[in-house]
Symmetry: C2
Amino acid sequence: MPFKDYLYKYLYQITNGNATKEPEELCCYAYDATGRTFMPDAVVFPGSTSEVSEILKLASLEKIPVIPRGSGSGMTGGSLAVHGGIVMVMSRMNRILEIDCDNFIARVEPGVVTGDFHRAVEQKGLFYPPDPASSAFCTLGGNLGECAGGPKAVKYGVTRDYVLGLEAVIPSGAIIKTGVRTAKGVAGYDLTRLIVGSEGTLAVVTQATLKLLPLPESVKTMAVLFPTIHQAAKTVSEIIKESVVPRCVEFLDKSSIDCVREQIGFNLPGDIQAILIIEVDGSLQTAQQDAAKVEKFCIDKGATDVIIASDSKQSAELWSARKALSTSLFKLAPDKINEDIVVPLNQIPEMVHRIENIKKRTGLTIVSFGHAGDGNIHCNIMYHKKNPRERMLAESAMDELFDHTLELGGTITGEHGVGITKMKYLPKEIGESEMEIMRGIKKVFDPDNILNPGKIFI
Amino acid sequence: MPFKDYLYKYLYQITNGNATKEPEELCCYAYDATGRTFMPDAVVFPGSTSEVSEILKLASLEKIPVIPRGSGSGMTGGSLAVHGGIVMVMSRMNRILEIDCDNFIARVEPGVVTGDFHRAVEQKGLFYPPDPASSAFCTLGGNLGECAGGPKAVKYGVTRDYVLGLEAVIPSGAIIKTGVRTAKGVAGYDLTRLIVGSEGTLAVVTQATLKLLPLPESVKTMAVLFPTIHQAAKTVSEIIKESVVPRCVEFLDKSSIDCVREQIGFNLPGDIQAILIIEVDGSLQTAQQDAAKVEKFCIDKGATDVIIASDSKQSAELWSARKALSTSLFKLAPDKINEDIVVPLNQIPEMVHRIENIKKRTGLTIVSFGHAGDGNIHCNIMYHKKNPRERMLAESAMDELFDHTLELGGTITGEHGVGITKMKYLPKEIGESEMEIMRGIKKVFDPDNILNPGKIFI
């Protein structure tokens, strides 16, 4: 259905001119980190909750898709206009409305960049743990949509654990408020956590009340070098049981190391097959003690070296190398399939072994890194999309990867969501009765299927 | 509608004789901690998930209410058969199926007594923080239904934060599996946390996968004595900001102290107006350091004494006094209205002040204690139900209490749920659009409204 001119006029009016239908502008909002593109019919930039409400009312009336969008850094196509329609970019609603140091909460709009929020709360001695690798540009709204995690989830959990309440607009245009501004609350069904992780298919979040923690006094960052990938995997699987609960345990395999070798900030011996980046935190004394425990434990497990970052500069370099990984991979091949599988901790060595076998079978470069401390491995299958053989191999590798993951008791997505890229795999993990309930819930919020249609469910 | 004989025969068959319709047995399952009673038509004790499924299929076909029930220790009437029907007691499904020390998870049936579960995981060096005062007899199934909290929520969160996945049966009889067995997971909508806290109105949980933590090496328990209630309240509201994150901060006002004075295990000066029970945990050294910080902070805030429990026996006595409080209150009056309001931390002093005013206005004994560290105050209005004037006063006190709570940015229930007792107050906190969504969700799971009808929603 062609997009009607009067609709665009309404959008333009509602947002006081913050709308566009120029192709050269539309294409800026047609992509995400999957590398796939779908042109929307129009893009709007609402400036307030009531504008979001007006846009959704109009879209409901006209049965036009609305796709909420943060920075477009999603990994599974969640913000792509797969059926055209209106992309609703939340970048103008980017205010931190409140940081309440007495009650350890913040109130934010969805367009706030996650990294900016980190800095703002840290300046006040507070701490917001969810920290996706894209934190320099992704937004809190996107994080809420996908239930983003990041490295600190090992100790501190994921986005859903930090959302106390939401203001959101449902497709009818009704503005709802969910949850509480307090530490506890159980009045009625948990709509807050239902909307978090729903990938923009149930409601457009216009405000979130987030829980904060006191900023830990001290953090120790360590790079632990291993001569074999299996020693690293075994260390990850046993560290919490036999040593301490670190706040991060990041895993980098050999190919990952090679991609960011120059950014790491210290010299690496050539024969290193895996690195763990481990962080502990707490009071100055606790962090020191725990770092010493971790060091001893890793050496016992066969690490050849444990380099404790001497200062925050060295620690920052290590993290910036880690965070650059996802984009650095394109050095290896022009295309990648990026999966964020999770397996139970004690299955990490077996999973790493099986990934090695998939590599051997397909001959493809598969790069594994990620939040191993909670079993969440980002597995990147590198290939040339235009080469049909490689494409077929890559797809078969992905199938096999998911089958192994589920066989080992894992999940196909730890933090990236289903979007469009994992849609066809979701029924492998979720049964028909459960899918039926999810479709029913979708219908309660969005009877006309206008909000981010074509996602999650086949 | 009278309960038909053939229905009872089916129930008897399905459960191999684990059903009853004898009035003297029915009345054992007619009450809960509200003191209200509703006679069910039959009681069944399913022994397996498939029996639960068969019972629900039958009930759906015949449109008969089914009320899942743990130990009946709920505070808001969640397990009462308000419309008659079948009470489904989960006590036979009481196995701890698995405690997995490698992956920090346990798999349990709903009838496991919470305190038994605590002991079982602690024997393996693991830790399950949710800990309602009724832990000696309440069940994990009930805790899931209400999203129970308890004292350790200050640092460790509530039941929902420890549920990774569920097996549950929906009213149609379909057995569903939600969530994951891993630390992270975002595949599809979060049905797990939707069912947790839904007060048995969406599905009957038949198995839960729970997240565990390593057992902290050391715990220090302190009783902090205050000459005025306001100094205690101010200490609570500032402790996290200015000192450490304790794992518990329990508050006992003067009337509470008087109720359990003899059980407390050490001598209390007569002029004490409030006690805080504060616990810190961590490594031996951390716990010691933090206890010292807390002691100094409390003395600075005007505490007259800080008694650090010398051993686990003294600590256990203190907790058993605290846990006995709820039932000890009947020394003061034959009836109580027990509310578990939550306010933002920095509003605790104001809330305490307003409760004092309600006391003065009504002349009723109102006892406040509870999990002040997360703003969750159990406020008990003591009265004689048979005295019409006291009854009216008690109800007006409750109205006023909720109004103040909401005015201060709080919620009417932190962990007890809505059930029947707070049903009429829920619309004060939750708007009509949100209620409409909740009713829609209820309908998706339970189109015929057979599962625990007459709860939450007016």
